[in-house]
Subunit: 280 residues, 2 copies
C-alpha cells in the first residue's frame, strides 16, 4: 500500500489538486482530534445504508457538541465520487474547524468537512471462505462513557493496538477493556454466536457503535435469530461457537482462529453477507 | 480571541504564508490524533527549560513508537520565532505523518513537524495576586496506562471538560478520574499543599506528566519542601491548605476557590514563580 492511496479528496467543497489536499494547521481536528468520522463502502456508485450513516454522523456530532453536519454537501461529494469511482471506500471527516489555541472552542469556529475516497483493500477471498485469523491485542481499551460509542478522531488506542502485529494474513485484532471483557476489533464490531444466539458486547463504556453492528442486529431480528447486547468476558468469547467482525467496508468476517482456539462459520453467514450488501 | 491567533507557522521547515498554513488531509495527526505536542512559553526570545521539553518530546514519541524528533529543525524554528516574537507561546506538534487509510502506520510514513506561535493569553494580574477560581469538571478522565503521561493529540476529554463552563473569570477546571481521584486541570498539572508538604497526583493511569510538574518537584527538593506523588481523592484535595496548577505557559497559579471551599496562597508562591521563570 502506498502512503498516498487517495482517489478523490474534497475539503469544504473544494477539490484537492492531488491526494495531498490540505487542511489548516490550526484545525482542531489536527490539534486535539476534535471531530468525528465515518468510513463507508461505495458499491455501484451507492453507499448502502447511507441514511443510517447520516443519522450516526448527526448523533456523533451532537454528542461532541458540534453543529449538525451539512448533509447536502456530503451527499453532493458522495455523488461526485460515485461518478468517478463507483467502487471504493469513502471516509467522511467532520472536525470542529480552525480555532485559536486552547481547548475551548472559539465561538465563530466553522466545522471542516473532508471527504476522501480510497481503493477498497484487496483482501483475499479466503477471508470469507476460510474465515480470518484474529490477533488478541494486549492493549486494553479505556472506559470512558463520555466518548463511548462515538466514532471520533481520538483513535490512538486503535493505532497502538494495530501496531502490535504486522502479518498480512492476520487482518484484524480483538481488543478487550481494562477488565478483560471483549469489546470490538481495532476497526470492527464483534458478535459471538452461542447456541444459535448472537451476542454483541455492551458499548456504553468503550468501543464504537458501528452502523454495521446496528444493521446486523436488525437483520437478526428480521431473521428470527435472537440477539442480545451483553458483557462478553474473554472466557465467554473463547467458549463461543462462532465469532463475527463487522464494519461498513468489510461487511462481516467470521473468525476461524484466536489464540489457538478454532471457530466455525455461522450457517447463515452467506445470507448475512448478501443482506449487508443490499441497501436498506 | 479571534479564530486565527497565529503569529508564526512553519510546517516541516516551510513558512506558511498566513496563519492558515496547511497540512495534508491524509495526515495521521488529523485522521487519528496520531502524534504528540508541547506548548511552551517563549520569554525574551528563549524557552525556559527547553532541554526538559526536548527530552519530554523524545520520551512521548518513543512511547507512541514514533521516530525521534528532529531537534535541529525544532530549534531552528524556535530561534526564528524568537527573532520576530520574543514573548509568545509556541506549540510544537509532531504527527506520524501522511499515510494510507487505516490504523496501521505505513512503512514509509515521515513525521510532520508543525511549529506555531500564538500570543500569550492576556490573563488578569489578579490570577496571581488573588488566586484563581477553579471549576470542578463533571467529565471524568479514563484510565489508560498505555497513554497516561503522554502529551498526545487525543485530547477530546480536555475539549469536553473545557466546554463545561465559559465564565472568563474562571480560567481552569479540575478533572477527576473515574474513581473520583483528582488528576489535573484541563491544561495544567495539580499540586496540593498539606501541612507544608506538596503532593501531586499519581499519573500512571491518566493525565499528562508535564515538564512544569517535574520542575516544581525539583524546585521543592532544592528548597527542602517535602513532595510526594500519591493518589489524591477529592476529599483529600478539599481538605488541603492550598492548591497549585502548573503548566509551561502559566507557570503556576494558586487556586483561591473550588466548590465554595476557600484556599490560601502558599507562603513560598512568589519564590516558586520566580524560579519557574528562570532557565534550568
Amino acid at each position: 500500500v502506498s502512503i498516498d492511496d487517495t482517489l478523490f479528496l474534497r475539503i469544504d467543497g473544494v477539490d484537492a489538486v492531488s491526494g495531498a489536499g490540505t487542511v489548516s494547521a490550526a484545525d482542531r481536528g489536527l490539534a486535539y482530534g476534535d471531530g468525528v468520522f465515518r468510513t463507508v463502502r461505495m458499491a455501484c456508485a451507492r453507499v448502502p445504508a447511507w441514511t443510517r450513516h447520516a443519522r450516526k454522523l448527526d448523533a456523533d456530532c451532537r454528542r461532541l457538541g458540534l453543529p449538525a453536519p451539512d448533509h447536502a454537501a456530503i451527499e453532493r461529494d458522495l455523488a461526485d465520487i460515485g461518478l468517478r469511482h463507483s467502487d471504493c471506500t469513502v471516509r467522511i471527516t467532520i472536525t470542529a474547524g480552525a480555532s485559536a489555541r486552547g481547548y475551548r472552542r472559539s465561538d465563530g469556529a466553522r466545522p471542516t468537512l473532508i471527504v476522501r475516497a480510497s481503493p477498497v483493500p484487496a483482501w483475499p477471498e479466503r477471508f470469507r471462505t476460510d474465515g480470518i485469523a484474529l490477533h488478541l491485542c494486549s492493549l486494553r481499551l479505556a472506559s470512558q462513557p463520555a466518548l463511548a460509542g462515538i466514532k471520533h478522531l481520538n483513535r490512538l488506542e486503535q493505532v497502538l493496538a494495530r501496531s502490535e502485529w504486522s502479518d498480512p494474513a492476520v487482518p484484524e485484532g480483538l481488543t478487550l477493556d481494562q477488565a478483560g471483557g471483549a469489546i470490538c476489533g481495532t476497526m470492527s464490531n464483534l458478535f459471538i454466536l452461542e447456541a444459535g444466539r448472537l451476542v454483541t458486547p455492551d458499548l456504553t463504556a468503550c468501543g464504537v457503535a458501528g452502523v454495521q453492528r446496528e444493521r446486523i442486529l436488525d437483520w437478526a431480528a428480521a431473521s428470527s435469530i435472537e440477539a442480545r447486547i451483553e458483557p462478553v468476558p474473554l472466557a465467554r468469547l473463547l467458549a463461543a461457537d462462532a465469532l463475527l467482525l463487522s464494519n461498513s467496508v468489510i461487511g462481516a468476517w467470521w473468525a476461524a482462529s484466536l489464540r489457538g482456539r478454532r471457530f466455525a462459520s455461522p450457517a447463515w453467514y452467506p445470507e448475512l453477507c448478501a443482506s449487508l450488501g443490499r441497501d436498506d
